[in-house]
């Protein structure tokens, strides 16, 4: 019933929603079981370097999906917000750079890190929301570039070029969370939490109104919504996600440096979100998985066919081009297209989800 489960805004979604409900639970159950028992048959490399990375990169891309998909705001500052989260746990918590790090316990350092990340995201959002389209991209890119150069040149707080190493997760419950299996479950847990929160929020008043602001800002103002305020609040919420992703990434690599939030990674987040699809919160995780797989194995694949291994970016670029060309809604859109084609009645050339 629409009262408790209103459909999302994008046209044609209502029909798909029914098939979603019928279809996906089974697929999600299978996925959940596979992910839960993964450590039983996967090695440390797969757990840590493939799935751990997929999960925290997915969370950071999810923060962009939330802004771009529901809010229509393409923000390139999300990786920088993740960087702020990572830097703050290094600065307020424990790292090998003990001349700067304050060494405060995790239960102080992590909340501070998230608060600072949210403040930074809110400020960036406050600057960006007055612009539209290409100008939002430019202003957030400018902030991201400024953050990168600032962290590289500031030695007093950010330790300049080398950044911080030895940033480890707390040994909570006697578990070394940096080990492959605990870290796998840690990142899986937060990926699922962030995914479910975004999914739930998409149909709560805050998320519905955000989609209303995306589709029809003038009407939303005429209904009493503060359009600017709502957009800034969306940036604040997205910053929590990006901050969580950034902290997990910093723990995984045990270090954070300016390059973590350099221009390359900033663009990568956009590529991941677009490859996966901006219409559903599962998209960024699919995108992150594809990206990590490509980045990890493209080198070997290229060498196998006799090409230089350092051209792996070419493969990612080509993959991006193919996906954007064939399906503006990313892999998610591709999947829906295939399903629509399969449901189509070959005689009537009609039916399925296709409009």
């Amino acid at each position: 019933m629409a009262v408790v489960d209103p459909p999302t805004f994008s046209s044609g979604e209502a029909a798909e929603r029914l098939t979603w409900a019928e279809r996906v639970p089974a697929a999600y159950w299978v996925l959940a079981i596979v992910l839960l028992v993964m450590p039983a048959f996967a090695g440390n490399f797969v757990l840590n370097d493939i799935f751990g990375r997929t999960f925290y990169t997915g969370i950071i891309a999810l923060s962009l999906m939330f802004l771009a998909g529901y809010g229509g705001m393409v923000s390139l500052v999300q990786m920088s917000i993740a960087g702020v989260g990572g830097y703050m746990v290094a600065i307020f918590g424990v790292s090998a750079i003990d001349t700067i790090s304050l060494g405060w316990p995790w239960y102080v350092a992590i909340p501070i890190a998230l608060v600072v990340a949210v403040l930074f995201g809110t400020l960036a959002g406050w600057l960006a929301v007055r612009t539209e389209g290409i100008y939002t991209i430019m202003i957030t890119l400018a902030i991201a570039a400024a953050f990168f150069y600032f962290t590289r040149q500031n030695y007093v707080v950010f330790n300049g070029f080398s950044g911080f190493n030895g940033v480890l997760p707390p040994k909570l419950f006697g578990v070394d969370w940096q080990q492959a299996v605990p870290f796998y479950y840690l990142t899986l847990f937060w990926a699922v939490v962030c995914f479910l929160v975004v999914l739930y929020l998409s149909r709560a008043p805050f998320g519905l109104a955000l989609q209303g602001v995306r589709d029809n800002p003038r009407r939303m103002a005429a209904l009493g919504y503060n359009v600017i305020g709502h957009r800034v609040a969306a940036y604040s919420f997205a910053a929590i996600l990006a901050g969580i992703g950034g902290i997990l990434q910093t723990w995984n690599l045990a270090q954070i440096s300016p390059g973590t939030a350099g221009i390359g990674p900033v663009i990568d987040v956009l590529i991941i979100a677009v490859i996966g699809g901006l219409r559903h919160p599962i998209g960024p995780f699919i995108g992150a998985f594809v990206f990590v797989i490509l980045e990890t194995f493209a080198i070997d694949a290229l060498i196998a066919v006799g090409l230089a291994g350092d051209r792996f970016q070419l493969l990612i670029g080509l993959g991006f081009l193919v996906i954007v060309f064939w399906s503006p809604d990313g892999i998610l859109g591709l999947w829906e297209k295939l399903r629509a084609a399969r449901n189509r009645d070959p005689l009537l050339d009609r039916g399925g989800d296709a409009p």
Binding site: M1, A2, V3, V4, P6, P7, T8, F9, S10, S11, G12, E13, A14, Y200, L201, R203, A204, P205, F206, L208, A209, G212, D215, N216, R218, R219, M220, A221, A222, L223, G224, Y225, N226, V227, H230, A233
Partner: protein, 266 residues
């Protein structure tokens, strides 16, 4: 030329604040005056029709009152409060509402969700992270409004699939959400069938007595039925004010407006 005396002043409106009071309001787009030196007073509960040919400045008047576009000069008061500098959402939260000439609806959402979103806009749940419960007060208010505008049969239908007339009715329901004090209707009858027009008149006449409104309407049958007073606009200025009967009989008005063939057109 003296500013015309408004009907409410002639009726001797007493001390209580007027629902809407415009003093010397103008709107310029560059050098072009879309609306110039408008003085308008509407009492609480008053139902006013604004008539005038295309380009007379009627919709510009609405845009300036609701804050869709800021006015260039002048002063706007809403129930005594100076709202001239307020952004649109602040005016709406004070009980002002409007409908749009070309419907601005959320076409991917159901009827009841469109109205729900309208009720949430003026409530404190705007930023709520929690989905509405089945017995949510705003949701039941939305369900009530669905009945008021006769859309019960299609309340869970996605708006894109509604007939044109139903979309116009939804537009009205969205303006009625969340305890409005004063509503601006921008050509609600445009494009409606005769039956739908009759329903529209019934909805407008059925509004609670304290809920005043201004209606822009080309269809004189609708406008003069629901309004107690009429303001004629011409070339961005107020040209005449009076009771419907006076306006209908006024020779200047007939020459300018009623005789120019736009009578009865959408």
């Amino acid at each position: 030329m003296n500013a015309p005396t408004s009907i409410s002043e002639r009726l001797g409106a007493t001390g209580t604040a007027n629902a809407l009071e415009l003093r010397g309001v103008s709107k310029f787009f560059g050098a072009l005056a879309a609306m110039e030196d408008i003085n308008l007073t509407v009492r609480p509960g008053e139902r006013r029709a604004v008539l005038g040919s295309n380009g007379a400045g009627k919709t510009t008047l609405f845009n300036c009152v609701t804050g869709d576009f800021p006015s260039t000069t002048g002063n706007i008061r809403f129930f005594g409060e100076d709202i001239t500098a307020f952004p649109a959402h602040e005016r709406i939260r004070r009980g002002l509402r409007r409908t749009y000439q070309i419907s601005l609806l959320f076409t991917g959402l159901s009827v009841v969700d469109n109205i729900y979103l309208s009720s949430v806009g003026v409530s404190r749940s705007r930023f709520s992270f929690l989905r509405p419960r089945r017995d949510d007060a705003l949701m039941s208010a939305a369900e009530n409004l669905v009945r008021v505008v006769h859309l019960d049969d299609v309340k869970d239908t996605v708006v894109a699939e509604l007939a044109y007339g139903q979309q116009r009715q939804l537009e009205i329901a969205m303006a009625l959400a969340g305890a409005p004090r004063f509503i601006l209707f921008d050509e609600p009858a445009a494009g409606l069938s005769p039956t739908e027009r009759a329903e529209l008149i019934e909805i407008l006449m059925g509004l609670p007595g304290h809920m005043g409104f201004i209606i822009i309407e080309h269809d004189m049958d609708v406008a003069l039925r629901v309004a107690e007073s009429v303001t004629m606009m011409h070339n961005g200025r107020i040209f005449k004010e009076g009771k419907p009967a006076e306006i209908e009989e006024d020779e200047e008005v007939q020459a300018l407006y009623l005789g120019d063939g736009s009578h009865g057109h959408g």
